[in-house]
């Protein structure tokens, strides 16, 4: 993805100059290593701050809805699938958004890298396949493949599925990826172990709702946890309430989730809630042959009935 930045600036500047769009949504360089900040550009100065590298993990589809302007968005494979979902769900009209597609080779896992080096990380630079991490005393070189976010390592849709223009030629899609090894492990546990596993997984949750808010699917005007009439979930830190939030949120995303990883990335306490969403993704794939956000012509699996839908569980 080296070199994308210049291309993105060029495209953004042309789109604004030709009044194709009123605003370009992308990333600017963050103030910390391995962090970029989503931003909008309407001026040449702002365009100049746009960047692209392996730290653009936030899903920009999240920033498209409820806008009046015509916007261009820099979209990775997963972002583009969420844009498709937005269009299907009438959150945005296809002609309001100009999609600048980014063939993506994956985003790097900030937490993983932090855990792999001693001391505070002061700088990170990258080439196509390597990541160089600097601390006060040392410099470490990683293969990018080693330090990808898990969802990127497992990604089978790196190229945008919908776009008006591409930043570069398509990248090779990964094949032979076993997406669900960890999910199968949980499925094999007995009920008690499963319960304990999730109690443990969710125990650090502080209910900041970063996962929900980072998720492009979570656009409900009032989330069920915030409803007062009726109140569905307790607002304290009781494990039952915390679990109810996470499981229900996962269900609300069933058949819509693209495994973009924004939820896990956003979590300040490092909960892998993708273990929930991916189980539902796996079920959708196994039972309905469905993958979310690949086509504008199909409604999500749980939104349609087909005569051959599995029904063996109904007695």
């Amino acid at each position: 993805m080296v070199g994308y930045t210049e291309k993105i600036k060029e495209i953004a500047s042309r789109l604004l100059k030709e009044c194709t769009v009123d605003m370009v949504i992308g990333f600017r360089k963050g103030t910390m290593p391995m962090m970029n900040e989503p931003c909008f550009a309407t001026t040449p100065e702002a365009i100049d701050t746009l960047v692209w590298d392996s730290n653009c993990g936030i899903n920009l589809a999240n920033y498209l809805t409820n806008r009046k302007e015509k916007v261009a968005v820099i979209a990775k494979g997963c972002d583009s699938r969420n844009i498709v979902t937005h269009i299907i769900e009438n959150k945005i009209k296809r002609d309001q958004v100009y999609i600048v597609g980014v063939p993506c080779t994956g985003m790097i896992d900030k937490r993983k890298i932090t855990g792999m080096v001693a001391g505070e990380i002061l700088g990170v630079s990258e080439t196509e396949n390597t990541i160089k991490v600097q601390t006060a005393d040392a410099e470490t070189l990683f293969d990018k493949a080693e330090v990808l976010q898990q969802n990127c390592a497992l990604c089978i849709h790196r190229n945008p599925v919908i776009h008006d223009e591409m930043v570069a030629d398509a990248v090779q899609e990964q094949t032979d990826v076993d997406r669900y090894a960890d999910i199968r492990k949980i499925e094999e546990m007995d009920s008690e172990d499963k319960w304990r596993f999730f109690d443990d997984l969710l125990s650090p949750c502080i209910r900041c709702y970063a996962c929900r808010n980072a998720c492009p699917l979570c656009y409900c005007p009032t989330c069920f946890v915030d409803e007062a009439k009726p109140q569905w979930v307790g607002k304290g830190q009781d494990p039952v309430d915390v679990r109810t939030f996470h499981f229900l949120r996962a269900y609300h995303c069933a058949g819509r989730c693209t495994d973009c990883g924004a939820c896990e990335r956003a979590c300040p306490v490092g909960i892998n809630m993708r273990l929930l969403t991916r189980k539902l993704e796996k079920d959708c794939q196994e039972q309905f042959g469905w993958e979310a956000g690949l086509s504008l012509d199909q409604r999500p699996a749980l939104d349609v009935y087909q005569a051959n839908d599995p029904g063996a569980f109904i007695k």
Partner: protein, 52 residues
């Protein structure tokens, strides 16, 4: 639900027409027997407040 750790026998789906009274009785019997066999589920009970 199963993934979360709710025993599979606790959740049943059935399609019963309002005319199928015998099937209804049969299913209810089956469900209650199965749930009784697993025993109570205490996972979803919050600790009660400390008022005696």
């Amino acid at each position: 639900m199963e993934l979360m750790g709710i025993e599979p026998d606790r959740l049943h789906f059935s399609w019963i027409s309002s005319a199928e009274s015998t099937k209804f009785v049969k299913v209810v019997k089956e469900v209650t027997e199965k749930v009784k066999a697993i025993g109570p589920n205490n996972h979803f009970i919050k600790d009660t407040a400390k008022v005696a």
